[in-house]
Symmetry: C2
Subunit: 161 residues, 2 copies
Amino acid sequence: MTLPLLDPETRLQGDDHEALRLWLRLFTCTTMVERTIDQVLKRDFGSSLARFDVLAQLDRAPDGLRMGELSAGTLTTNGNVTWLVAALEAEGHVRRRTAPDDRRATIVRLTAAGRRHFATMARQHEALIIELLDGLSATERRTMHSLLGTVKQHLRLERTA
Amino acid sequence: MTLPLLDPETRLQGDDHEALRLWLRLFTCTTMVERTIDQVLKRDFGSSLARFDVLAQLDRAPDGLRMGELSAGTLTTNGNVTWLVAALEAEGHVRRRTAPDDRRATIVRLTAAGRRHFATMARQHEALIIELLDGLSATERRTMHSLLGTVKQHLRLERTA
DNA sequence: GCAGAATGCTTGAAGTTTCAAGTAACGAGC
DNA sequence: GCTCGTTACTTGAAACTTCAAGCATTCTGC
């Protein structure tokens, strides 16, 4: 798990607004975690975070999901979900069929093999995240979770404004 | 600035470890901010967050930086920095030349035009970030900054371990 | 029911990022 | 001063992502 040395924060100067510093640190931490996870998923399962994300959603939906629901849930575009699902289908993790009530829509669901595959990945994924975020105490994690909740809500408002 | 509806968090179930919830929320917030910034930079300047990052580093280094220093500072790979710098050079924002003391190394520095271009972007970039993180009070931002500092330090340890 | 708008998804092209392999230059030890 | 290992960067292929355009289907108001 050898990553390049990453620290964009070092380039900040004294007069920068503190919001900028916060953002840079947020970005750095998230990216470091994201890459680590992505690398481990690639190395151990030949998968990726984007794929994992799709599978994770499907795992929660026994009746499957429409493409639109999938792309709403992942932080990615419509076209990309089409691409990801096509790849996952080619690998046998997922199956697509036309929705019975709306022939424009496609329903995607996990195959049995896909479900098993996801379960294995999920275990390791969770262990890794717990390890990576272990620098914070449980209380600190709660605080952070709550602060991020505020941020998220504000971002949602900004977007519609 | 119309973004798709994004909320991967909704798929969490009750029994998930809270570290997982924290990570998901961290990821969501960061991605939302990242996309917003990237879109604004693209729309208003035909640029991108990755380019901005490179320019920001060079702006702090009057004597220029080596390619390696650049890729260490941005959260991206060596090869990508080559690509980004080549594009920036083609646009006249940046100039490359061989290091006098080590002919393997390349030194990149901003042109006068590049510096002006960056200054304009930086102003808008900062204003946008202040707006996006405005959901938190100054105290909360400080708390978050400090918590993320702990996370970052832990991640750095994890990586070398 | 029918025209036109809206919706759900796919497609293809272009852009971006990574990865692995390659080239050139440096440096330590003989 | 040669040789081997290392370092700095570039390159080309492949993976992935986005974007805009397109197609089929459904919905709405007449």
